[in-house]
Symmetry: C2
Subunit: 343 residues, 2 copies
């Protein structure tokens, strides 16, 4: 049976209003009464109804997170790290998924805001993010992550995706590759920035960047393997075909490598590959996959610290935190690695 404010009031011979005021930290209750109430709450292991408390204080000690895809390991690992940071400071994480559907995203934003989260963190799938104030909540601060909207003056935490494109492409250049293609994403800031980084690296090394070497697709998150397979079939028909490919993410790279092997070509001898995300299984794949690692755990930690700051001090000027990434080289680009003397 749940302990109610009424029970505490009856036990101490005070009114329910008095007990409620103590719970809300109201100043017009005498120190002695306050102590008696808090002592009795502790004795009875009273669990305050956070919903009622949220209405009274305006704080819920809860951070809301909306991701576009729960199954994508990047978002899951980010959420795990973020939740860990919040927990150490007695804050809870409530998570929702938009399934890459802008309409669903608006619903989920409303759900979380109406639950009274203190801060909302979101990797938005809107093509053009409107100001969140239009959603009818002026007070809840929000923090964009992974996907930025340059026209919106908002807080942001994410990878430096221009750098991601640069280091991935430079890795292939350093291996002596000359005809480097890119299988990219579409309609998000990481897709745009990685493409820009790819072009920067080619330009800095005086390498050609024929436009048909850079292809862009939607749905690279949900069905990247199928998309990578199709995109690679398209690139293999070019003359000459590329001798290296920087793929938008690991799943795209997996599909592209599959298409290359099925065409009777060798990886990396004929075509080298690098993906993005450094998937948990990258090392166990048919061809262990080189990848750009986003330091997702660090990203989650930074987002958690930022969110906690915003929950106590919401009126800050928009600030961006960009984390650096690094290349993890495996067989798909550098050939058989010494770490895996198998078969």
């Amino acid at each position: 049976m749940a302990v109610r404010l009424k029970d505490i009031a009856r036990d101490l011979g005070v009114s329910v209003v008095t007990v409620s005021k103590v719970l809300r930290g109201n100043a017009d209750i005498g120190e002695e009464t306050r102590k008696r109430v808090l002592k009795r709450m502790k004795e009875l292991n009273y669990q305050p109804n956070m919903m009622a408390r949220g209405l009274a204080s305006g704080r819920t000690f809860t951070v809301g997170l909306i991701v576009p895809d729960l199954v994508h390991p990047f978002f899951a690992e980010f959420a795990k790290s973020l939740g860990g940071v919040l927990r150490t400071r007695q804050n809870a994480l409530l998570l929702a998924s938009s399934e890459e559907d802008p309409e669903v995203e608006l619903q989920e934003i409303r759900t979380l805001l109406s639950r009274g989260v203190d801060v909302l963190i979101i990797a938005s799938c809107q093509a053009n993010l409107r100001n969140f104030y239009e959603l009818g909540d002026k007070r809840t601060p929000y923090l964009l992550f992974d996907r930025n909207f340059p026209h919106l003056a908002a807080h942001f935490v994410g990878s430096d995706d221009v750098q991601v494109g640069e280091i991935a492409t430079q890795h292939l250049i350093d291996l002596g590759r000359k005809r480097i293609a890119h299988i990219g994403g579409k309609g998000t800031s990481p897709a745009f920035d990685r493409l820009r980084g790819y072009r920067n690296a080619l330009h800095a090394n005086n390498l050609p960047s024929p436009t048909n070497y850079a292809v862009a697709y939607e749905k690279t998150e949900e069905s990247g393997d199928t998309i990578g397979f199709q995109a690679m079939q398209q690139l293999l028909r070019l003359s000459p075909p590329p001798d290296a490919v920087f793929c938008y993410n690991d799943l795209t790279a997996i599909g592209a490598i599959d298409a290359t092997l099925q065409a009777g070509l060798r990886v990396p001898e004929d075509i080298a590959f690098i993906g993005c995300g450094n998937l948990r299984y990258a090392n166990y794949l048919r061809v262990p996959l080189s990848s750009v690692d986003h330091n997702t755990t660090e990203l989650g930690r930074l987002a958690g610290e930022f969110a906690l700051e915003l929950s106590t001090d919401p009126e800050q000027s928009p600030r961006s935190i960009l984390t650096p990434s690094h290349v993890v080289a495996r067989a798909s680009s550098i050939g058989t690695t010494p770490e895996k003397p198998t078969r």
Copy 2:
């Protein structure tokens, strides 16, 4: 600027109480007034404060889900499917993770209950689940999934894990294997039931089940590859070693196969493997992995239907829904598959 009840009341020349009663569906408001209020709410795109509405009606149209690990694809896929079903019926999903820590799980239960979810769905990591009523919430119905607690009379949705163990082991027996080992989990009902299914199948086929052929480990979810690697090294030291292994999950199987290849043995010629979960990447692994598929999407759908039923009719006798699984055979057990003519 958010639209408030006060604004609607002022515009129509009625009291805030009247507007609030309309919002809550209170019957003592005349039909004409009701229509005027609803019309004005629509015009102003009024977003009801669900927190306040939840306090008034006792319903929040929200289902809470607690999983032990967000990064594990099984839980992510389950959440995705569940969320889809809830959404079609205008219910939201709020997700939290216990990180396989019983203390964190208790905190997350409190967080979700205090947000006023209508139903709580949980894959609990408690060794012995106590009655949820002890947590101070007598009214919120809950639904266990994945992990059952036989001593607790509770609603349950999950795989039939005895059947999982039986069909996985039978698959290896059907391939002519005689010395079948099991790398299992520890302390959860799926771990216990899969072991039971493994023993059932061996017994039904008059095959020996030496006790040192069945090993059990904790943390098979978070670091299954490392655990599978170590467990397999242990099994390889036996004389004779097994000629087939049924692994608790795919990650464990990946690690076990790695240990086998590093020992200079062939998969499946020397030792055949089957995992569990049918991971998204199973087909792209160094040795494409045979696995038991849990029909996770169907499991999420059934849990969603069950939860919606409980939200409108909480007082039901405990009921269990078990879904059947099936084997997906790939190279790790049956050798080179005709579907993949690579290299």
